[in-house]
């Protein structure tokens, strides 16, 4: 403290000497405020400070209420009051005077008044209502500064309900001749948009005007609104893409006044705002993305100066490039950029690089490999935030192979963490990982130990998680853990082992020091022991009872835990010894103050005496018979209808109440809490066995009066938690394993080049030769961390570091050796695909890799048997073919192969001879199915290629027709298809070889990644007897709707699925109004056009479901709201909702 005083004193002379700076009003140190401040710095104790401030406040209070105080004095007093408040002393008496000062003061006094108001009051303070009149007056003032002040305070804080009062005035200011006023008006409207979007809906076109404003400041301000609006509905603003691009181009090109430069970078904030907008617009939209490639490239190129602000811009560019429709050379540049960040010695940049890497890692896991050594180093970084971000990154790339190591790293971090928030977050993540990969027994080597993510690992990890998390854990973690245990996995034997292991481990824990175990964990232990301790043969119930009794006797045990323990004892009290213990315990607790405990004690007492009743109430393995839970609470229907009949208000959902209230201009409500409802379903695992549920359900029936009003704040929580490993969740997990297979299974042809690449990048690191001990450890760690991502690289690393030479070694010579090498591979997932076909068909996920490799041999090459001569073609086909020859060359590929609606008769289109002709070549099993028009793909000298897609129940079949229009034989026809978004597998070549003029190829297609349209690229090559080989390229485009099939689910299933899906999108669509009920009509159109399943329609709402082949569901919720159709889509597949909503919109537009 004393050195502060000293410094202040030495600084005083300079303060007192007036300098010529125009703004530096340093005189104030002689003022009363100056005295106050100096007085406080001279004090030595908190107590003295308090005394001084209270004295000060008393004097301020006296003066402000005196009628003789002038406004100028008032201003001075107000500044002092602000100072006292900021020291943490309340000066609420001055609030009203601050408002008065804003009202009556002029110039600077007014300004101080407004400042004091904005510092003293928050948005919800009731005194703010008194400010409305002042603001109104100032908005109409002819003094521009007063208008500015009013607009400033309005955009900082304004009562939501009073917005209509000033809205017209603020709107008027959008046309003000002074740009500063326009800018502030735009910002005020932005604020209104945030807190009450409905009220500014009518001025959207004025926002456009602001966007076109000649002043860059006003334009920049309007971008805040646009960013927000585009975030909510990107589709509606696609038309502005070109404008944003051209603005960005001008900014990047330095067209703005030099004044906007920041460290000689032109308007960086504006640039970043624009890039963010572009990334929202270009997401999943190839056409829009194409418009912005050039300017993004330019931004990347221009931002080369070595300054934080350029790095900030680069970071946004990289994020944008990975968000929009991919373009390979931009991706390459972005990846390089990330590399520069990550490798930078500057710690801030390194952090940002890791953050960017975390963002892009899912699209491009290869990038993690390039930087694996850096990532490993960052794991041990002294700065916690870097460590944390690295863990986040690893969390994203977890797979069955590296889960053990990653979880260990996370636990390591947890042990050191002191921050509750981090602990909760990480504990959740570890638990998620542990539950995701528990039973895949994949062994691998790390530090000469063999770890297996198996039962033991799972239980031990969960033990650590429970004991580390303290009592801060989210309750759904123990719940889902118990659910997992009780529902079990695949085999009964495995389940038994798992439970047994849990029991053994818990008994050991209880025998040790239990003092530090969190209550949650003790509850879990109690439940597991009660339920499963009978599985262990050597464990006697008496021993368990004794342990539980010990637990009960401990002082630290909370009463909730005690009730769990009592419940467990109830399940276990067998035999004479058991009964006597039970009696003893129940006597202790039967008179407990806690009613729940008393209840449990009663139960224990009665059930221990009547073993028959006990067996009926608490059967062993109760989980075998699924319990019916009435999640809709229909048992309350009677109660609800009675209450309604008695005049109670019907239930209204919260948002409706909110709207009504805001219409009624009532003061605003409390904001909703952000926490998601906690699951009761996951707690229902314990159902009858769990003591909490019993008490909860009794609680439910107890306050059911509230129930109908509170919007189910307690009741509707039933299925709130995403089940990681439940019966439903299990499927999803399967899918992810399959995905992993696709990622991992390498094409042998690819591995050569990749290995070379990895070797190359590896040799840059100095760790290669000779490998020192810690480095070697790091490399081992790296290989175990990054194993699943690409097996090649681990080959390389493992090969160099030595200790496990054979295990992952894999020669990249091709098919023969790869099948030989599989013998040793313990990893069933990666290496079981022994057949050549399998390896070939698993396309690598990243097309950029494949394009580097010899394409023709890696793809589905089907070679036509020599021939395809067209010598003796039947006459009529021949004739039609020449006809088609003429037509075939001209029509361009229609963008959107519209479906001919399921007409079994292929001859419907008689006016399209080619189609008719070719459709007769459709294989018998495909004719009669719904298919698209046959469209020509390309025409060569002698060959015509056409294609169509046929909708089958479970798949999409692409049919390619190759028509030979010449007389000469065509040899060596090869057809290669490739697509980034699609999985293509060859079904058959031309089935009938005697049709010499037309060859038919069938491919089945599966969507790898949803996009609005999916495109196939292909090459055809052939040879005529005399002449050089010919090749031609073509492409074929399908709408995503071709892959959509109805998904038949019940409303209940829909409900469970809805909550489990994480990707969603929302938008408003237009309703169709043609006579009948608009919702039904609209839904019908959508159902027909997109092949959806209508689950149910109730009143103004409807729910629909569909799936993307194969088995990737998407749920849709429609609601009529203010004449529009509010649509909300959810799916487990990223991008699927966005793509579908696009098609919904199109379908309705076309209608």
């Amino acid at each position: 403290m004393s050195d502060v005083v000293e410094k202040t004193l030495t600084a005083l002379p300079s303060l007192l000497s007036l300098d010529s700076q125009p703004g530096a009003a340093k005189l104030s140190s002689t003022s009363k405020l100056g005295n106050l401040i100096r007085g406080i710095t001279e004090l030595t104790s908190k107590h003295e400070e308090e005394k001084l401030i209270h004295r000060e406040l008393a004097s301020i209070k006296e003066q402000v209420s005196s009628p003789n105080t002038s406004m100028r004095q008032m201003k001075e007093l107000m500044v002092r009051a602000i100072y006292c408040e900021s020291l943490g002393y309340e000066a609420s008496f001055s609030y009203i005077h601050a408002i008065k000062l804003a009202q009556q003061g002029t110039g600077l006094e007014k300004r101080v008044g407004y400042l004091a108001v904005s510092l003293f009051l928050n948005e919800n303070h009731e005194l703010l209502l008194l400010l409305v009149n002042t603001v109104l007056k100032d908005l109409q003032s002819t003094n521009l500064i007063e208008v500015c002040m009013a607009l400033t305070v309005v955009s900082q804080m304004f009562p939501k309900d009073m917005i209509p009062a000033i809205l017209p005035l603020v709107e008027e200011k959008l046309n003000h001749p002074k740009e500063i006023i326009r800018r502030k008006a735009v910002l005020a409207l932005y604020k209104f948009y945030l807190i009450a979007p409905n009220q500014v809906q009518h001025i959207h076109n004025k926002f456009r005007k602001a966007l076109c404003d000649k002043d860059p400041g006003v334009m920049t301000a309007s971008l805040h609104i646009y960013l927000q609006m585009i975030q909510e509905n990107a589709e509606g603003y696609k038309d502005l893409t070109a404008s944003f691009v051209s603005i960005l181009k001008q900014v990047v090109g330095g067209k703005l006044p030099i004044d906007f430069n920041y460290h000689s970078v032109p308007a960086p904030w504006l640039q970043i705002q624009l890039i963010r907008i572009l990334s929202l617009l270009g997401k999943n939209d190839q056409r829009t993305s194409e418009i912005m490639y050039e300017v993004l490239d330019e931004s990347l190129r221009r931002a080369e100066m070595n300054h934080n602000i350029t790095y900030a811009i680069l970071y946004e560019c990289v994020k944008c490039i990975y968000t929009i429709h991919p373009k390979s050379d931009l991706l390459e540049k972005a990846a390089k950029c990330i590399g520069n960040f990550v490798l930078s010695p500057k710690i801030n940049l390194k952090y940002l690089g890791l953050k960017a890497l975390t963002y892009v890692i899912q699209q491009d896991p290869k990038l993690a490999l390039q930087h694996q050594m850096t990532i490993i180093e960052c794991l041990d970084h002294p700065d916690l935030i870097i460590k944390r971000e690295t863990l986040e990154l690893l969390f994203r790339i977890t797979n069955t192979q590296n889960v053990v190591v990653i979880v260990e790293k996370m636990l390591e971090f947890l042990r050191m963490s002191t921050d509750d928030y981090t602990t909760i977050d990480l504990v959740g993540k570890v638990a998620e990982l542990a539950e995701k990969y528990p039973s895949d027994c994949v062994c691998f080597s790390y530090k000469n130990y063999t770890y297996a993510p198996d039962n033991e690992w799972f239980i031990e990890t969960m033990n650590t998680v429970f004991s580390l998390s303290g009592d801060t854990m989210q309750p759904d973690i123990p719940n889902s853990f118990l659910k997992l245990l009780s529902e079990g996995f695949e085999s009964v034997e495995e389940d038994r082992k798992l439970r047994l292991f849990a029991v053994d481990s818990y008994v050991t824990l209880l025998k040790g020091e239990t003092g530090k175990l969190p209550q949650f964990f003790l509850q879990v232990i109690s439940w597991v022991l009660g339920e499963y301790s009978h599985l262990s043969e050597e464990l006697k119930p008496a021993t368990v009872l004794e342990l539980l009794q010990k637990l009960l006797d401990r002082k630290q045990t909370s009463s909730e835990t005690k009730s769990w323990a009592l419940m467990a004892m109830t399940k276990l009290c067998e035999g004479r010894a058991g009964v006597s213990v039970a009696q003893q315990v129940s006597e202790t607790y039967i008179s407990s103050m806690d009613t729940v405990l008393r209840q449990r004690a009663q139960e224990l007492q009665h059930l221990s005496q009547d073993s028959e009743l006990r067996a009926r109430v608490l059967p062993r393995d109760a989980d075998l018979e699924p319990l019916e839970v009435d999640s809709s609470l229909s048992f309350l229907d009677g109660f609800v209808s009675e209450a309604l009949a008695a005049g109670a208000a019907p239930y209204k959902p919260p948002h409706q109440r909110q709207e009504e209230l805001s219409q009624a201009k009532v003061l605003s409500l409390e904001p909703y809490g952000l926490s998601l409802p906690i699951s009761m379903s996951s707690c229902s695992i314990a159902d009858r066995q769990s003591p909490t549920l019993l008490s909860m359900s009794s609680g439910l029936s107890g306050d059911s009066t509230d129930l109908s009003h509170k919007g189910g704040s307690t009741t509707l929580k039933f299925e709130g938690v995403k089940r990681v490993w439940g019966k439903e969740g299990y499927l999803a997990q399967k899918e992810s394993v399959e995905e992993a297979v696709q990622v991992e299974a390498p094409s042998p042809l690819r591995s050569t080049s990749q290995q070379a690449e990895v070797v190359g990048s590896h040799s840059q690191t100095p760790t290669l030769t000779p490998t020192p001990e810690p480095e070697q450890e790091k490399q081992q760690l790296a290989s175990s961390l990054f194993f699943g991502i690409s097996s090649q690289s681990s080959v390389c690393l493992m090969g160099k570091s030595g200790p496990t030479p054979q295990r992952f070694r894999r020669k990249a010579k091709g098919q023969s050796s790869s099948s030989g090498a599989t013998e040793q591979m313990s990893n069933s997932v990666v290496f079981t695909s022994t057949t050549v076909d399998n390896l070939l068909c698993n396309n690598p996920p990243d097309s950029t890799i494949t394009s580097e490799v010899d394409v023709s041999s890696s793809k589905h090459t089907s070679e036509l048997p020599q021939g395809l001569t067209a010598a003796n073609g039947t006459c009529d086909i021949e004739a039609e073919l020449t006809d088609s020859d003429l037509k075939g060359s001209s029509p361009p590929l229609s963008g959107d192969n519209g479906l001919e609606n399921a007409d079994p008769d292929p001859h419907e289109n008689l006016d399209k001879p080619q189609g008719v002709c070719l459709s007769s070549h459709l294989p018998a099993e495909l004719s009669g199915l719904c298919r698209s028009e046959i469209t020509p793909l390309c025409t060569l000298q002698n060959l015509d290629l056409s294609a169509c897609h046929v909708h089958r129940e479970d798949t999409i079949v692409l049919v390619v027709f190759i028509t030979n229009s010449s007389d000469s034989a065509v040899q060596h026809i090869r057809l290669d298809l490739d697509s980034e978004l699609l999985e293509v597998s060859c079904v058959s070549e031309s089935p009938a070889k005697d049709v010499r003029s037309v060859a038919v190829y069938l491919y089945s297609l599966t969507v790898r990644r949803p996009a609005v349209h999916v495109e196939l690229a292909g090459t055809v090559s052939y040879q005529v007897p005399v002449g050089t080989p010919q090749t031609a390229q073509f492409s074929y485009k399908l709408p995503l709707t071709a892959f959509i099939r109805p998904l038949t689910v019940s409303t209940e299933e829909y409900g469970t699925m809805w909550l489990a899906f994480s990707h969603d999108t929302k938008q408003n669509l237009t309703l169709i109004n043609d006579g009948q009920e608009p919702l039904v009509a609209t839904l019908n159109v959508l159902r027909k056009k997109l092949q959806l399943h209508v689950v149910e329609v109730i009143g103004v709402e409807g729910i629909l479901a569909c799936k993307l082949l194969q088995d990737q569901p998407c749920l849709m919720h429609f609601r009529v709201h203010e004449g529009a159709l509010a649509v909300w889509l959810r799916s487990p597949v990223p991008d699927l909702p966005d793509c579908l909503i696009y098609h919904c919109q199109r379908a309705l537009q076309e209608h």
């Binding site: 303060l15 700076q21 125009p22 703004g23 530096a24 009003a25 340093k26 140190s29 100056g34 401040i37 500044v79 602000i82 900021s86 020291l87 943490g88 110039g107 600077l108 300004r111 400042l115 510092l119 928050n122 948005e123 521009l144 500064i145 500015c148 400033t152 900082q156 910002l187 932005y190 945030l194 807190i195 400041g217 909510e232 004044d259 906007f260 960086p268 904030w269 934080n308 602000i309 801030n348 940049l349 940002l352 700065d383 916690l384 944390r388 928030y421 809709s632 229909s634 229907d637 919260p654 948002h655 952000l674 509707l716 409303t1051 209940e1052 809805w1058 149910e1096 109730i1098 729910i1103 919720h1117």
Partner: protein
């Protein structure tokens, strides 16, 4: 059946509401200035927060930031937010942003604010801010608004402040308006 699905739809609505509320969070949450001794010099809250919560945040921030090791990054995790801090002489500037925001940019927001203060006060020091904190607030209000950048041009911000300073000397506001609005 009808009833059941109704309940379900209600549930969906409820979730919808939560979802909408998440939308409206501000990008910057608060800005604190405090000295090396942990004395608060300036505080700006961009979202409504109760007084008690404010006090707790201020305590947390000063403790965390002052305890940082030298040569670590300028960023910190705090709850679901990122704290960006930078020290200028004896004063720490500490800005809280949402975690998906751009940390480097936030660092430059701080720097730009310091530049603005510097331009106004002329070689700004902690004492300027202590004795003229209301001016520091005025500058901040012209620069940031409701958690967003309002104006990045140095000249424009300064012209605003200086012209309102003139108000003090002369209440007839005609001539400096010419100054302010060009």
């Amino acid at each position: 059946m009808q009833k059941k699905s109704k309940t379900l739809l209600l549930l969906i609505h409820q979730l919808l509401c939560i979802y909408q509320f998440n939308y409206h969070l501000r990008k910057m949450r608060f800005l604190l200035l405090f000295s090396r001794q942990g004395k608060l010099r300036l505080q700006k809250w961009f979202t409504p927060i109760s007084e008690r919560e404010k006090k707790k945040i201020i305590r947390d921030m000063t403790n965390m930031v002052l305890a940082r090791q030298p040569r670590s990054s300028n960023f910190l995790d705090w709850k679901d937010l990122k704290i960006i801090y930078k020290r200028y002489a004896s004063l720490y500037f500490c800005l809280a942003i949402e975690s998906q925001e751009n940390e480097l940019l936030a660092l430059e927001v701080i720097h730009r604010y310091v530049e603005l203060l510097d331009k106004y006060f002329g070689n700004v020091c902690e004492l300027d801010i202590i004795f003229n904190f209301e001016k520091a607030y005025f500058i901040l209000d012209e620069f940031l608004m409701g958690g967003e950048i309002q104006e990045t041009s140095k000249q424009i911000v300064n012209r605003c402040i200086e012209s309102s300073d003139m108000l003090q000397e002369d209440d007839n506001s005609e001539w400096y308006e010419v100054e302010l609005f060009g």
